[in-house]
Amino acid sequence: MALLEVKNLEKNFGETKVLRDINFTLEKGQTLAIIGSSGSGKTTLLRCLNLLETPDSGSIHVEDEVIFDPSLPAVTSAEAIRRKRLHFGLVFQNFNLFPQYTALQNVELARRLLAEERPDFKQNKKAIYAEIRENAEKLLTQVGLQNRMDRYPHQLSGGQQQRVAIARALALRPDILCFDEPTSALDPELTGEVLKVIRGLAEEKMTMVIVTHEMEFARAVADQVLFMDEGIVAEAGTPEEVFGNPKNPRTKQFLDKYKEM
């Protein structure tokens, strides 16, 4: 059974139909790349998965759990949404690190707050915080920032900030990690270091959904590719199928534009 299942997802902003009848599944350990031009609905789809937007209809399931289904009113309570969000991690285009915290504190914060809800928090506070610290240090080392843990975000380059943001998202051990154009706000010479980290995660079989404009990267890393156009999935398949032998003329047109660049 697929880890993530999205069925008939629709989203409108007023009169504009941003997402129309989106369907896909994602197996555990696989990487899905979503490509398409600006305004095609890629980011909105990602935001729906993370419940930053409420879909108008359709459903989202992670394993057996309903993440979104309009027929289930219970899902709409703030507390339920908060719980369901934890299945997903999200790395933003603009990093959105918390400026008043160091890299290490950024990675630790959410885990520390969640730990307060544990029944054994009061007795084991020290041990719990120590474990969170150890984990955060391990994650920052994994993204190559072992020497920058005590820096504040403004003291880091864009690429370093984005790597902290990846470590921060990983700290909560999400089932599925989403990336919203993770390198679009970066200078070209800084994109490589971020893509390398994401590639590493793919090799470790992290389940990921990546919205990206880096076509070569998508082709190399993804197990599955969705091409979105005007709110619909215009083409879906393996990278070889979508990039090597696109069937939809819109896909061809889109990919040709990238080849010219």
Binding site: R85, G89, F92, F98, Q100, L109, A110, L113, Y152, L172
Partner: protein, 234 residues
């Protein structure tokens, strides 16, 4: 009358000025936050009308936010009219209009200052809240934080950092605005300074300025230190 005697008399008035200053802040800082939240209220009881109609006028009525509108009107009145007149209205108004007994002078002055400054502070709070990027809230949300946690652990300190400079300006203006309560004869620094004129002495009134300067110097220094404390992040 010796310089020293004048100084002690003025200092006595200055204590009242200081009292007005601190009590105003104590009342206006929290009240301003309430005014700010009310003026940002999105409550629109007629929102349902929007679904059933497409006429422009009905759409406008459906989008009407009564709490926000009332609050913005009050803030406009308070910020748009002279503080001196507001002091007179609060002190004499209830008696003239309804035959109520006068409030104690200091109480009336303090009440006016709290309302007036709360309105100014509310706009500073609003600017601060609106200047925090939406991404900060969203980052907190996707990390499973509650809205309380996002406010206290993520946005509050950023908000404080942003409002300290404009708040500092208001604090310094407030020090000198206290002189206006002279119009209802509250015994503060300026009133004391003026009382020497009857005795043929002009200089004590000018000497008052030194007290205000000293107070604003201390305030400026304290605010600078606080700003520096928060300069470790952007």
């Amino acid at each position: 009358m010796s310089f020293w005697t004048v100084t002690t008399i003025l200092a006595d008035g200055f204590i009242n000025t200081g009292k007005l200053f601190f009590l105003t802040l104590l009342g206006a800082l929290p009240l301003g936050l309430l005014v700010c939240l009310a003026s940002m209220s999105k409550w629109s009881p007629l929102a349902k009308l929007a679904d059933s109609t497409s006429s422009k006028a009905m759409q406008w009525i459906a989008g009407f936010r009564p709490i926000s509108a009332v609050m913005k009107f009050i803030v406009w009145i308070v910020r748009g009219s002279p503080l001196m007149i507001q002091i007179l209205i609060v002190y004499y108004g209830p008696g003239l209009l309804f035959g109520l007994p006068l409030l104690p002078r200091f109480t009336a002055a303090l009440l006016t200052f709290i309302i007036n400054y709360a309105c100014y502070f509310s706009e500073i709070y609003r600017g601060g809240i609106q200047s925090i990027p939406k991404g900060q809230y969203e980052a907190g949300e996707v990390l499973g934080m509650t809205s309380r946690q996002i406010f206290f652990k993520v946005t509050l300190l950023q908000l404080i950092k942003r409002i300290v400079p404009p708040m500092g300006n208001e604090f310094i203006t407030l020090v000198k605005d206290t002189a206006l309560v002279r119009v209802i004869a509250v015994y503060e620094l300026i009133w004391m300074g003026e009382s020497f004129i009857k005795k043929g002495m002009m200089w004590p009134l000018f000497y008052c300025a030194v007290f205000y300067l000293a107070a604003t110097a201390i305030l400026t220094f304290a605010l600078d230190r606080f700003e520096k404390k928060l300069s470790y992040f952007n």
